[in-house]
């Protein structure tokens, strides 16, 4: 109980209070808290990357060994992961005269070649597919079912056409305030802005209350289990 609950809650309370205080008392020693805690965070983040990598490898290996669903994709992930590890951390594929570490960005290194010639096109392809799915999904799902859906549909169409040169050309003959680029700018700057601000204020208040719940030990879900 002491190790699993009380000590973690005390640590969260102490760190949370210190972090809060340093915002309101910008004098020594509190002004040093941010300098050091951000560096601790950076160090922990580096270890988290290592843990994340190992976890990925473990899960994919399990899938391959047990011949789980879509296991060949897991095999591709493992091969890609190991290849980038080898090219990133070993002298393999490092051009002559380039130090290990500097080679990641150096012309002629295998790591850089893999990044720009394998990862980049694959990543761009995945994102480009969105255009097709958005077109198909909006064709099938964007319907004038009720007043709210119709409003959303009309605003969507105005934004889609108003953001591109074709929309400006199509409505160039109209008075300026009726042209699509002007109307879409108004939608962004007035109704959309009002909605976005309301959501942001709501999120902000939610974050304050959740943080206070964590600091004061009311919220203990971070401990895991049934706490």
């Amino acid at each position: 109980m002491l190790w699993k609950t009380q000590i973690p809650v005390a640590i969260v309370f102490a760190v949370g209070m210190l972090t809060l205080i340093q915002w309101f008392v910008p004098h020594w020693p509190f002004d040093q808290i941010q300098v050091h805690t951000t560096q601790w965070f950076d160090i922990i983040a580096v270890f988290a990357v290592i843990l994340g990598g190992l976890n990925l490898l473990k899960l994919q290996l399990q899938k391959v060994i047990s011949r789980g669903r879509d296991w060949p994709y897991a095999l591709v992930t493992i091969v890609g992961f190991l290849a980038m590890m080898v090219y990133g951390f070993s002298p393999v594929g490092v051009p002559e005269g380039i130090r290990l570490g500097d080679h990641l960005q150096a012309n002629g290194s295998h790591f850089r070649w893999m990044f720009f010639n394998v990862f980049t096109p694959l990543s761009a392809t995945m994102f480009a597919l969105l255009a097709f799915f958005v077109a198909s999904a909006s064709y099938r799902a964007f319907r004038v079912r009720n007043a709210e859906a119709t409003l959303l549909l009309v605003a969507g169409i105005i934004l889609m056409l108003g953001r591109v040169p074709l929309g400006a050309k199509m409505t160039a003959f109209l008075p300026h305030f009726m042209q699509l680029p002007t109307v879409q700018e108004w939608i962004y700057a007035v109704p959309n802005l009002a909605g976005a601000r309301a959501i942001m204020i709501g999120i902000g208040l939610g974050m304050v209350s959740t943080s206070l719940r964590f600091i004061l030990g009311i919220e203990k879900s971070f401990l895991g289990g049934d706490e």
Binding site: S136, V144, K169
Partner: protein
């Protein structure tokens, strides 16, 4: 009449593969045979241009790369045009990245523009500090002590040996911040932890999908203008020097027009079907 109605209903039930093919052609043809539609500059893009233009000559500008290969077509034209505008005005550029792949994006753009196009000197006119893990903690870190987070650049040169870094100890020592952002961490975090608390002028270029999230900070005056997606990049190019985004806008125009056409067809079909059901 019944024949017309069934035709209209069928128009709303096209095979999605047909939709894919039509969109594919609509994107490919304008890329191959540009139409040359005129790009109209919106006020938010003009604000970015004016903000960058008003930086005093010889200032040091922090440019942060928060995008990867997937969003490169949208953001890279902004990065290229921004560097051209900055180097035309003899500004010094310090690049960094909050995303791991952002470091590769910055390397590529700096090689092309700073090194090949302008022939500038590394460490004197520009430098790339690269990526550090920690997301917004990196921003908070450099707000207090830049050299504790970045003791060397991506070429392993110690930061204290770089002439461009003379007098730069925290983020407050930069004259301007520009965030090229495709998500988290990105523009919003730069506003919250650097630009707003320390009063550093800032501007941004983001993906179209992010505009909604960032626009409150623009309208609130915390960010000077915004380059909104591909169209923002094309408008910005129009003010500095034409590039890829201007060319891509033809394809985007036609694709958007066709998507709207599909939506209208789908809705006509839906309304005809609904009328049939209620009749």
């Amino acid at each position: 009449m019944a024949g017309n109605n069934s035709f209209l209903v069928k128009m709303g039930q096209l095979d999605r593969r047909l939709v894919f093919v039509v969109i594919g052609i609509a994107v490919f043809l304008p890329l191959k045979f540009p139409i040359g539609l005129a790009v109209v500059t919106t006020p938010t893009t003009q604000d970015v241009f004016n903000a960058v233009d008003s930086i005093p000559e010889g200032s040091t500008v922090l440019v942060s790369f928060e995008y990867g290969p997937s969003t490169r077509p949208e953001i890279e034209p902004m990065a290229i045009t921004l560097l051209r505008q900055l180097f035309n005005e003899k500004q010094k550029v310090v690049a960094m990245a909050l995303w791991p792949d952002g470091q590769f994006m910055s390397t590529r753009v700096l090689e092309r523009i700073a090194d090949k196009e302008y022939g500038l000197k590394w460490g004197v006119d520009y430098v790339n500090l690269g990526y550090r893990p920690g997301q917004e903690a990196v921003i908070k870190g450099i707000a207090k002590d830049l050299r504790a987070n970045y003791n060397s650049d991506v070429r392993n040169n110690p930061v204290e040996d770089l002439p461009i870094m003379d007098g730069i100890y925290t983020v407050k020592d930069f004259d301007f911040i520009f965030s090229l952002s495709a998500g988290y961490p990105g523009t919003v975090e730069w506003v919250l932890y650097a630009a707003d608390p320390y009063g550093i002028p800032m501007s941004t270029g983001v993906t179209a999908i992010q505009v909604n999230e960032v626009i409150p900070y623009v309208k609130g005056g915390q960010i000077k203008g915004i380059l909104a997606g591909m169209s923002g990049a094309a408008e910005y190019e129009n003010l500095v020097k034409a590039g890829d985004a201007t060319r891509f806008m033809d394809a985007q125009s036609v694709a958007h027009f066709l998507i709207v056409l599909f939506i209208i067809l789908g809705n006509i079909s839906y309304l005809v079907q609904r009328r049939k059901q209620t009749a």
